[in-house]
Amino acid sequence: MNRHLHLILPAVLSIFLVGPACNKQSTHTAASRQDLIRQALNLVDSLSTHGYPITYRAAQPKTIRWDLSQLISVGQQQGLLAPIVFDNDLLIKTNFDKNQLFHLNYLAKLLFFPDSTGKNTIMIITDFPDSNYFNDPTRPFTGLRFMEDWYGHPVQKLLFTPEGKIKRFTPNKTQPTLAEITQTCYSIVGYNYSPALNETYTWTEDVGCNTNFTDDGSGNALGSLGSNSPGSGGASGASSFTVLPGNSVIKSIKTYFQCFTNVGGTDHTYTVTVCVDQPDPGTRTPWSFSGSGSSGSSSGDNPVYAGHAFLILTETYGYTTITRNVGFYPAGNVNPASNTSQGALNDDETHAYNISGSFTVNSAQFFTILNFISQGNSQGYLYDLNTNNCTTFVINAVAQVGITLPRTIGTWVDGAGNDPGDLGEDLRQNNITGMTLNLSGGTFNSHLNVGQCN
């Protein structure tokens, strides 16, 4: 579906850029409307059986109110705009509208239209009003407009400002200048209340910051938007559209990894990044002692930082990126005197690291690594400070597909084994085949999980 979007997107945008206030009632016959509804129903049925939603919102069961649909013009074609009623009570609030709660039913609509080649297309249009629009809905729409395909892949995100400007989201915009650093970031929180369970599921969507939205200018907005539409071969790069709500401990690794797709060919790219948080960055020191305790002391109450090694797993295709961080930990507390514990996989998306090495692998290799990692939560699979710690686990994971990392053994009081200090220096000093070395590391917010399908 995406490859046809560039043919029609300018026309679609011409409708939605001018806002809901300019939508006109159709004067077309009921016969043509019924015909479009029939085509739209066929397309929805087809899409529902040929793909998987990638966002929580897209995955929600819903009813399209075709009976309330309106005919609208999409370029030279006729299209349908239909309300969506979600089966569950989905409430949304945003940080740019004083945290007012909206029912998602009132924000989301389905747009169906045949493009100029006759290919039928469906988009989900969701308007998130800002406080200006909320205070006076008679004025032109201001806020954020999401345009997504049936599965939730972002097609376009637009920011309608109170000044009447329409800004387009650019996910891979370069680092803001100093002048732009005072920025506003937008986020959306959703609530799914289940009366049967008396529970509420909460999810969060990271929409980007004002520095991600660029002013196309009202005069040439359509052209520039069209040239960057999916399938145009223009702008590439993935949108950081959704971020999973985090749990430090990964309860189900199968669920955690389920967004990844095992697809052959060259249009899906898979990357495995070995991240190392050295206890004393730039040295092979296996453990560093706390600055607050007596230096070098290993007395019981003096914190000892052992560092950590973990993996970032990424799949990229088209405009979609799926990212998951995972590290191997003991489920319980460990120290050299008590060096084993049940193993546990944790989400390391906020864990800073100072050095990393990335490898591009094929889909088979990628899933081999995932399978290896999955055993980390298995009952009886032990974390051992000396023989199967986080560093050993990472080395062994990539070794499954022939990536050989040095296995330097470090020593410490009452023990020895692989350690982040040595692995970090091994990445730095060895010219490892196929590895892209990153000496800049990552911060607590630079490698967050991306892509939601759970």
């Binding site: 650093i181 970031c185 990271d206 460990v334 120290n335």
Partner: protein
């Protein structure tokens, strides 16, 4: 017999008084950092980091059952969360491990353990707060060196 009982209660009282009553701590603040400088960032430098306030009731609920522990060998840190709280009018820096169920009070240089039943829920609570902070994507100016 009375002397023994007196000594017992005296020692028990002293030990109990050594344990911080975390339920009295307020203004719990989580900082945007998780890495090797966990213990090395001085408390007066934490203001350089992004912060998020932790829900007082939640923290109190988790920490009210924390017990002081004195392990024979140090627990190993593989990452952790930097927090501060206000206790008896003083700011204290407290680090929470990102695995297991222990944390460290820099002021008293003591380890504490949460009950193991609360550990997973606690880790999720802290991580979710750090993620909230991370998603704000506050960008700091690049460091300039003289």
């Amino acid at each position: 017999m009375k002397k023994r009982a007196f000594v017992f209660f005296l020692v028990a009282g002293i030990l109990t008084s050594c344990q911080v009553r975390w339920e009295n701590a307020t203004k719990w603040t989580l900082y945007g950092y998780q890495g090797s400088r966990l213990f090395k960032i001085p408390i007066d430098s934490l203001k350089m980091l992004d912060t998020v306030q932790l829900n007082q009731d939640s923290v109190t609920s988790y920490l009210s059952s924390a017990k002081v522990v004195h392990p024979k060998e140090p627990f190993l840190w593989m990452g952790g969360y930097v927090t501060t709280c206000s206790l008896n009018g003083h700011l204290r820096k407290v680090e929470f491990s990102n695995y297991g169920n222990f944390f460290y009070d820099e002021n008293e240089k003591h380890y504490y353990q949460l009950s193991s039943e609360k550990a997973e829920s606690w880790l999720a609570f802290v991580q979710n707060n750090l993620l909230t902070l991370a998603r704000k994507k506050v960008i700091t100016p690049p460091q300039t060196h003289p």
